[in-house]
Amino acid sequence: MGCYWSKKAKTPGYEDPAVLAAETPFTVNEVEALYELFKKLSSSIFDDGLIHKEEFQLALFKNKDKRNLFADRIFDLFDVKRNGVIEFGEFVRSLGVFHPNAPVEDKTEFAFRLYDLRQTGYIEREELKEMVLALLHESELVLSDDVIEVIVDKTYSEADKKGDGRIDQEEWREFVLKHPSLIKNMTLPYLKDITLAFPSFVMSSEVEDSEI
């Protein structure tokens, strides 16, 4: 058991489950279950207790080299310290926003930051168009530029109430209130059952001992 605990402590970004539970909607048991998931994800390519971009891509797309605009945005938002990797603490805190019990305001804000591609504090029309193009490309749906412009225009004019050519946080909040399904993917129902999917074997020593 000594090896297991000291290994945990050495992993950069590891935080005590009790601390994380206090600051997120997760219980201590759920944080420990998340640690099991984290271990799996963070050791898939580089066994260093950190989730690298390729490991994240591997988990999401089953392809470590798959590039995706939206996955990049999620990765960057999870990587709070901006050091190119997702640490355990960052992982839990970010996933906390996706918990069914997390406040809608947090989910709305996270979505805003996600779509604010260049982090200017606004979702510009070009950013919206870029995202639509990325989605169409990803789904192998081909639409003419005219049609794409119509889709972007329609949405943009509805969201950009002030008509200043960009969507700010306030306009986004109002838009989400009108269309709650916009933040549907900001909730992961599985998080409530995480302890069933990843039972945390706190006492487990079989695998851990062999690692340095």
């Binding site: 999401l60 939206f70 989605l135 192998e140 949405t155």
Partner: protein, 128 residues
Amino acid sequence: MNAFELISMSKGLNLGNLFDVEQEFKRETRFTSKCPANEIIHKIEEAAKPLGFDVHKKNYKLRLENMKAGRKGNLNVATEIFQVAPSLHMVEVRKAKGDTLEFHKFYKNLSTCLEDVVWKTEEDMQEK
């Protein structure tokens, strides 16, 4: 369907995949169609009735209910049609109640009947 709803369908934004949810037994799926919405609705109705499903329509939403009870009660399926562009519709088919495996079987039957309506299935839309 607005642009943000479209965007939110990206695989990169559906973190459920991190949890390795069994892809075959998903509770919801979607396909695109180039047919007009009314035709899609009509085809779904035509396909569902012989399979023993009761159909309730409201705007572009359909509720299909299996009149026979299955393993977990009567399978209840909700479908909704979204217009992405004038000539492109996205159809979402979701299990509302009942056994997921039965839903999966139902959807397989349904898609066979809808072959000429479906343009791209969800698998088609996921780049290799």
